[in-house]
């Protein structure tokens, strides 16, 4: 573990007094390796460790008894702060509220749509699941099956997504749906999403635009976040955290793009959605 590695780096110095500059650098190098191996973006790693280095000197870490633990605590604190912020919630503004899921191919948008629907029902809402993915084979069937499983309404918006959503927003009033959860097509890595998406988000005045990313995504995560800039993303959902991917993207995007992580996907079933825990995520990334 990183704690052990750092412990070894500093072990030789126990009782020796102050740490040398070279030793601080050695400690930071170990942490850098760990963060890069955890898929944190290399620029984020560089900026974060520069800040930690400053703090380490200011805090006179060299005089502490457990420099490894102190250094790690500084890093963990920086990370938790970047990922934490105020507990960000869904806005769910509008009548009906419109929540749109966007993201690269295969990240888990459709599955997450079902999870969010179940979550919102438990919060007393009346969501409807809307398929606005005209491209993927059997996309409608996939979401319709999830809706059926949850006993929730489903509607397609695939012939002309922008116009279909306008019609559905009016239908929502009659049907007493108070949230439309909109599933959209996956995009190639780093590329802008389907042409109709920014217009759909604008026309429906979607208050929540959630970027769904796979926890195993590597250095592409930042580029993916930037590719959706034209969609006005309001938050992030990180999926497949039930595996052993360290999930460095959870640090890169909040820190660089100011995007909060709202939920964690932890399995394939509708109940496998959890609130995001910054502290736990920091520990997971640090390994």
């Amino acid at each position: 573990s990183l704690t052990d590695k750092l412990g070894q780096v500093f072990a030789r110095l126990r009782g020796k007094g102050t740490l040398t500059e070279a030793e601080i650098q050695a400690g930071l190098r170990e942490i850098r390796q760990a963060l890069l191996a955890a898929d944190v973006h290399y620029q984020v790693v560089r900026d974060l460790l520069a800040k930690v280095e400053e703090q380490a000197r200011a805090q006179k870490i060299v005089q502490s008894l457990t420099p490894a633990q102190q250094l790690l605590a500084l890093v963990r604190q920086e990370m938790t702060q970047a990922m934490g912020g105020e507990a960000t919630k869904l806005k769910l503004s509008g009548k009906p509220a419109v929540l749109v899921l966007v993201g690269p191919a295969g990240s888990g948008k459709t599955t997450t749509a079902g999870k969010l629907a179940r979550h919102l029902v438990r919060k007393g809402r009346k969501p409807a699941l809307i398929c606005a993915d005209p491209f993927r084979p059997a996309a409608e069937e996939q979401l319709a099956l999830l809706a059926k499983k949850l006993g929730l309404p489903f509607a397609p918006a695939t012939s002309d997504p922008v116009r279909d959503l306008t019609t559905l927003a009016q239908r929502a009033a009659r049907e007493l749906w108070d949230v439309l959860i909109v599933d959209t097509p996956g995009s190639p890595p780093g590329e802008s999403p389907a042409d109709f998406l920014p217009e759909l988000i604008q026309t429906t005045k979607a208050g929540d635009v959630l970027l769904v990313l796979d926890a195993m995504v590597g250095q592409e995560a930042l580029g993916m976040g930037q590719a959706f800039a034209g969609c006005g993303v309001t938050g992030l959902i990180l999926t497949k955290l039930d595996g052993d991917a360290r999930g460095g993207a959870a640090l890169s995007l909040p820190r660089r793009l100011g995007l909060p992580v709202l939920f964690a996907g932890t399995g394939e079933k509708p109940e496998d959605l959890e609130p995001f825990h910054p502290q736990r995520m920091a520990d997971r990334i640090l390994g």
């Binding site: 295969g106 069937e141 996939q142 190639p188 590597g218 595996g243």
Partner: protein, 277 residues
């Protein structure tokens, strides 16, 4: 002690960043940088020289990874596709089937993902698009049973290649990995040999988790090869370098788009050039 060139700080940083940005990872990056320094010993070091040494190092690291796909002689051949959730297995199965049909073969698709919502529907739509038959049971059926029936049908009806699409699963889920081993044994029982190719489908956007995927799927079914998807867009797929260093598995194909024609054979030179640009 092999001599090595001293790269200045800027060149070193730039070299590291090219590799890290491509998901090569910190360990393999350190190894590649050392190798570049050794190659440049006693030479004038400008960025062109570094680039050339870098490409050479990467080509060497990927030695043995380029292997053109040849359909085995014994009919039917069986190609089994495995991988984590969302990696692009179903789409790749359809792309490879199309390629084989173009080459005059007669492929049968087997929908052995009986778990995920509309997984069978998805493969059936693709099969229809290609005019190819899909063997399927109902959702929730035992994947081994679907594969067994698919093979029995292929052998009696004279198909020359069977492509098996399996459900996505995270490599750390032991019962799901054991299920894959069971599917392999079903094929062994019917064919008298394991699937001719056991292909791990890896998403090019995956970071350092790719090695864990390769190692654990290899333990579960004995992989013979890889397919790397989503190499269109900005992803460079550098995570295959650690896999090559540890397992040296060939990469048969790369996926370069969502269309059924968007499949190319893996070419080391092209891959390396795209990675280092």
């Amino acid at each position: 002690f092999k001599g090595k060139a001293r790269l200045d700080q800027d060149a070193l940083l730039r070299l590291e960043e090219v590799l890290l940005a491509a998901d090569v990872g910190p360990e393999a990056t350190a190894f590649i940088v050392r190798s570049v320094e050794e190659k440049l010993a006693g030479q004038a070091v400008d960025w062109n020289a570094i680039q050339a040494a870098l490409e050479e190092t990467l080509v060497q690291a990927l030695n043995g990874v380029e292997r053109p796909f040849v359909l085995p002689r014994e009919k039917p051949a069986v190609l089994m596709f495995v991988g984590v959730n969302g990696s692009g297995k179903t789409t790749t199965v359809a792309k490879v089937a199309r390629l084989l049909r173009e080459e005059g073969h007669n492929p049968l698709l087997v929908a052995a993902d009986t778990f995920r919502a509309a997984a069978i529907d998805q493969l059936e739509v693709l099969g229809q698009e290609l005019g190819l038959k899909v063997m399927a049971h109902q959702p929730g059926a035992d994947p081994g049973a679907v594969v067994h029936d698919g093979l029995a049908h292929a052998r009696s009806a004279g198909y020359d290649v069977v492509l098996v699409d399996t459900a996505g699963r995270l490599q750390t889920k032991r019962p799901l990995m054991e299920e894959l081993g069971k599917v392999r044994r079903v094929v062994e029982k019917v064919q008298g040999r394991p699937p001719d190719e056991r292909i791990l489908v890896i998403d090019a956007t995956v970071g350092q988790n790719a090695l864990s995927q390769a190692q654990l799927f290899h333990e579960a079914v004995g992989l013979t090869s890889l397919a790397v998807t989503k190499l269109d867009g900005t992803a460079r797929g550098g995570a295959v370098i650690p896999i090559a260093r540890h397992l040296n598995l060939p990469i048969l194909w790369v996926g370069v788009g969502e269309g059924l024609e968007d499949l190319e054979p893996f070419r080391t030179q092209e891959f390396v050039r795209a990675l280092t640009r």
